[in-house]
Symmetry: D2
Subunit: 139 residues, 4 copies
């Protein structure tokens, strides 16, 4: 609650793993989030695409920050990810939104795009549950 | 096919993201995998625990390498992850195994443990589908 | 391939379980599906709501028929369902759509609504993979 | 809490949908469940196998009753199901167990088998979250 985009950026800045990956929070509020990871050579898998682990990390964050804009301090309890296309380009973009929120948890969707210049391709989709810290579950 | 643990370690070494995280492959074969990420200060979230993104990355790898020991070159098509406990300690360990394998894809489970010295605590569980490269789907 | 709504209704009529539940196919084509189950007293759980098993059944069908409109004869390989609200009212409605389709499989979403007269409430959401029969996987 | 197998069978008997399907609860307690649906001609899909909707229904119940043996009155909040083989034979058997339980929710696994005489084949696996009624989430 009462978490605005500056507060949410503070949370992201307090995640050393997100600092390592260079993640930026570009939209936060009203049950929506957008996060961007610039692609560099440290984020690849063996075929030269962005590693699925980067995609799943960002999908998780997209779910969590969408829920966090409604619930405050949160943790992802569970999510499912479908990896539909290899992710290339110059950035990975996750857009999350809340489908349903109660007092203690929210069900959220997140779409993950590979961005190449002005073009975006949907490469993965996620569905999951995010819980308020001090609520049910933990991640 | 015909991928032994040295070949599989070569795949891991060809993933720059896995090199960045320091991931090691400790078991590979007969539909089973074990992978370890040593915890360091770059892998944390805002509460000081290992970032969920590291856990999901390793769960994905545990599924993929278990399947890879049966199918050869693979990609994770989809998986679901339940994050049950915060992950602390000095290493994260993922153990994957194949539940059912066809010619082109395998259904796999993976358990992820937080290791602290000689103790391990189950912190997350995953279930997913891994496909042979050149088979159906892509990740 | 080459499956129109009449053909798809024939598939549904050949499913004795769907006949038992009284399921109707109301939209089929272009990667989209809509199916309806009229609620009756045989479909309830212990609190008087529609049984989660009916919701999961219809979510699965919504995914499969959306994919079937693109791929022809299909089986659901896997799906995930989030049950967000108890389902009441006089009918359950599932609307599926294809997010990405290859030659042998499709990734689909499905929303499940509880309909009460002219009102609908979103009660569950699903995400899953549907495979062409003779393709990878089986259900 | 304080729910024994007779109480749990009472819950099942109060589910008209479970009565319609003829579901029996054969094991209940200590975080474990076993449920059986006898196969009959009303439970099939178009290829003569047991309908995936019956499998998903029973997987959901297996998860919920495993959790219910620890938490009391519960609802499934979410689950994921992988359908690995077509289900034939004379009965479908689901075996659920709790992986981790808190005060308000439990993470559970469930394996679903097709039974043909004395033989069983694993045909589907599920992973999900079950919440205590009056706890977080609802289904």
């Amino acid at each position: 609650m009462d978490l605005d985009i500056d507060g949410a950026r503070g949370v992201l800045a307090a995640q050393s793993f997100s600092v390592l990956l260079g993640t930026r929070l570009t939209i936060f509020g009203d049950g929506r989030s957008e996060l961007v990871v610039p692609v560099n050579d440290d984020l690849k898998q063996q075929h030269g695409f962005v590693h699925g682990g980067v995609v799943s990390y960002l999908a998780d964050l997209g779910l969590a920050f969408a829920a966090g804009s409604v619930l405050g301090d949160v943790l992802t309890a569970e999510f499912k990810l479908n990896l539909m296309r290899p992710a290339g380009g110059d950035a990975i973009v996750a857009r999350g939104h809340v489908l349903h929120a109660g007092k203690r948890q929210a069900t959220c969707r997140c779409d993950v795009f590979a961005r190449d210049g002005a073009e975006e391709v949907l490469c993965a989709v996620a569905l999951g549950t995010v819980v308020k810290v001090g609520g049910a579950g933990a991640a």
